[in-house]
Amino acid sequence: MVTLTHYVALSSILFGLGAIGFLTRRNAMILFMSVELMLNAVNLMLVAFSEFRADMAGQIMVIFIYAVAAAEVAVGLAILIGLFRHVRSIDINKFNLLKW
């Protein structure tokens, strides 16, 4: 039997994986994907809560979050391309013009 706890645990683990990926990986594309993983973990949790509480509000929130995430990716990739034209790399260790 899959209960609410399972869903919450799964989405928390996914969120944690996303956060760890964001902090440890050095490829800007992987960082994007990690953030997306975190957002989708939240979506999963909202849908589970929505089902559990019999309240559609949670699923409507998911739609909003999708829209925002899509806009975010569009802007983020544009910025990344802008930077790639200068550095010719997407390794964030090479983005070191600004420090301290």
């Binding site: 919450v8 989405s11 969120f15 996303g18 956060a19 964001f22 800007a28 960082l31 994007f32 953030v35 975190m38 957002l39 973990a41 939240v42 949790m45 909202l46 589970a48 809560f49 559990f52 509480r53 309240d55 509000a57 949670g58 929130m61 909003f64 979050i65 925002v68 806009a71 975010e72 802007v75 983020g76 544009a78 910025i79 990344l80 802008g82 930077l83 200068h86 550095v87 983005f95 013009l97 600004l98 420090k99 301290w100």
Partner: protein, 513 residues
């Protein structure tokens, strides 16, 4: 969520969120104006777009200030509220937007950057910030936060040929979206535990007994962490200096004031509407036992204590070692966030009033400083590092005098508005018994005075080593600089009026319900 039964009414939308309606319409109209202008009047595109933006923002400001008071119903559909607190913060944001738009006209021309989307994005950034401050619903807060952030990410990356700008924008984007993911996770947890994301209903549900569950505390902590990223408190500040150094100078000024005002405004609202509601005027809780929720103070106050201390110290200490003046101002803005956090920590009427006053005066002096900075940083042979500022005092007396005035205000010396703001914040903290933190805060502001005054020392006491040629000064920039300079002096000498308005504004948080 359905227990309230919201009724949609167009007149109420106009009453509560009319400013947002004006801004959206102006932003959309500007897109068409831009298409028309770039086909026909390419040469005057920047000027016309800029003035259009200024007038749209002034119309919004007019709507906010001159509508009928008191409003009979200040909450629209359980999403937006128009109590005096959010109106006051919105006015700060609009003021920052107007000054930034005025300066942008000259800035874009100096750097041959005139592109229509700049002003459109500026309007949408202002819109997002105002929607953020007005929202009383966590989901709306998230959407507004993203509208604001996405517009600002693009503006930060606006210098296409400059690697620094692109790099700063990418760092801002990555850390910003990381922060908002935390905000969202907290939102989802709260929704699961309480069944609502509306701030006022949330406050009632929490005070009914579940406020000390570990799940609720985790959720509140994550929501706050998401906001700390935007407020740039140490250790959530990593992106700040990079972004502020790389971005166009006027946009840096806008980010450091409007975006920060929005983040601080919404944090104060969240804190004192939901987590630790302030009591009504009579001292009696009106709708539910808010006394219960005071227990939450024991959780967020120690956190904010440390964040305020770290922010004040790191911001000021690292600023001392900076050679680039723009980057130095970036660290100084981190430090200023620390002083404002001190006012929030005090959690009394005077502290909240102090934060509002501080935000207002900080907006004036910071935008003024960045206005002078962009003029001095002409296209070639401009002044960027501290060494470049040597001997400017006698060659360009007006610009140097203005720069000195703004720096003195940031250092918090009388008779400027910066001194009054610091005074309110520190006295509020001392009143609540945060003696140690206030003393350390004063100590850090002495460190701050050292690096601000060092710039003035370089300008007036040293001889120039190389020739500096500032860019041309546009008329709108002159207007903006006059407004900021007069404001900094006026509110330093006669702060009572503004302080009274700020004090009424903070009290209105008790009436959001």
């Amino acid at each position: 969520m359905s227990e309230v039964g919201f009724v949609f009414s167009l007149s109420q939308l106009w009453h509560v969120a009319g400013g947002q309606v004006i801004l959206i319409l102006a932003g959309l109209a500007l897109i068409f104006v831009d298409i028309w202008l770039s086909a026909r009047h390419k040469s005057s595109e920047g000027t016309i777009m800029g003035w259009f933006t200024v007038f749209a923002l002034m119309a919004t400001l007019g709507h906010l200030v001159f509508r009928e008071w008191p409003l009979h119903d200040i909450v629209f559909m359980g999403v937006f509220s128009a109590e005096k607190f959010s109106v006051f913060v919105s006015c700060i944001v609009l003021m920052s937007g107007i000054l930034a738009a005025l300066m942008s006209i000259g800035y874009l021309r100096n750097n041959s950057l005139v592109r229509g989307e700049y002003f459109i994005l500026l309007i949408f950034a202002v819109y997002g910030t105002i929607a953020l401050v007005q929202s009383v619903d966590l989901l709306m807060m998230f959407i507004a936060l993203e509208v604001m952030s996405l517009a600002v990410y693009i503006l930060a990356a606006f210098l296409k040929g400059d690697q620094k700008s692109q790099e700063g924008a990418l760092k801002y984007f990555l850390l910003g979206s990381f922060g908002s993911a935390f905000f969202l996770f907290g939102l989802a947890l709260l929704f699961g535990l309480t069944g609502t994301v509306n701030l006022t209903i949330l406050a009632k549900t929490l005070s009914a007994g579940i406020f000390e569950q570990p799940g609720v505390l985790v959720a509140l902590g994550m929501i706050m962490a998401g906001l700390f990223f935007k407020m740039a408190l140490v250790p959530f500040h990593m992106w700040t200096p990079d972004v502020y150094e790389g971005s166009p100078a006027v946009i840096t000024g806008f980010m450091a004031t409007a975006v920060k005002a929005g983040a601080f405004g919404v944090f104060v609202k969240l804190l004192f509407v939901t987590f630790t509601p302030i009591l009504s005027l009579s001292g009696q809780p009106e709708f539910f036992t808010t006394v219960n929720l005071a227990a939450l103070g024991a959780y967020w106050k120690p956190v904010l204590w440390w964040l305020a201390l770290l922010t004040m110290f790191f911001g000021n200490l690292i600023a001392v070692s900076q050679e680039n003046v723009k980057r130095m101002l970036a660290y100084s803005s981190v430090a200023h966030a620390g002083y404002m956090a001190l006012g929030i920590l005090a959690a009394n009427a005077e502290g909240r009033m102090g934060v509002l006053f501080y935000l207002f005066s900080y907006t004036l002096m910071n935008l003024g400083a960045f206005g002078v900075l962009y003029i001095l940083d002409g296209k070639e042979r401009g002044a960027q590092t501290l060494e470049d500022y040597r001997g400017l005092g006698f060659k360009y007396p007006t610009l140097s005098f203005l720069m000195s005035l703004f720096l003195v205000a940031m250092a918090g010396l009388p008779p400027t508005a910066g001194f009054i703001g610091k005074f309110y914040v520190f006295s509020a903290a001392i009143k609540e018994g945060y003696l140690l933190l206030a003393a350390l805060g004063v100590l850090t502001s002495v460190i701050g005075a050292y690096y601000y005054l060092r710039v003035i020392y370089m300008m007036y006491m040293k001889d120039a080593v190389r020739e500096i040629v500032p860019g041309p000064v546009a008329a709108p920039t002159v207007i903006a600089l006059i407004i900021t300079a007069l404001g900094v002096i006026y509110f330093g000498i006669l702060p009572e009026g503004l302080a009274r308005i700020a004090s009424i504004a903070q009290q209105s948080l008790a009436f959001v319900f």
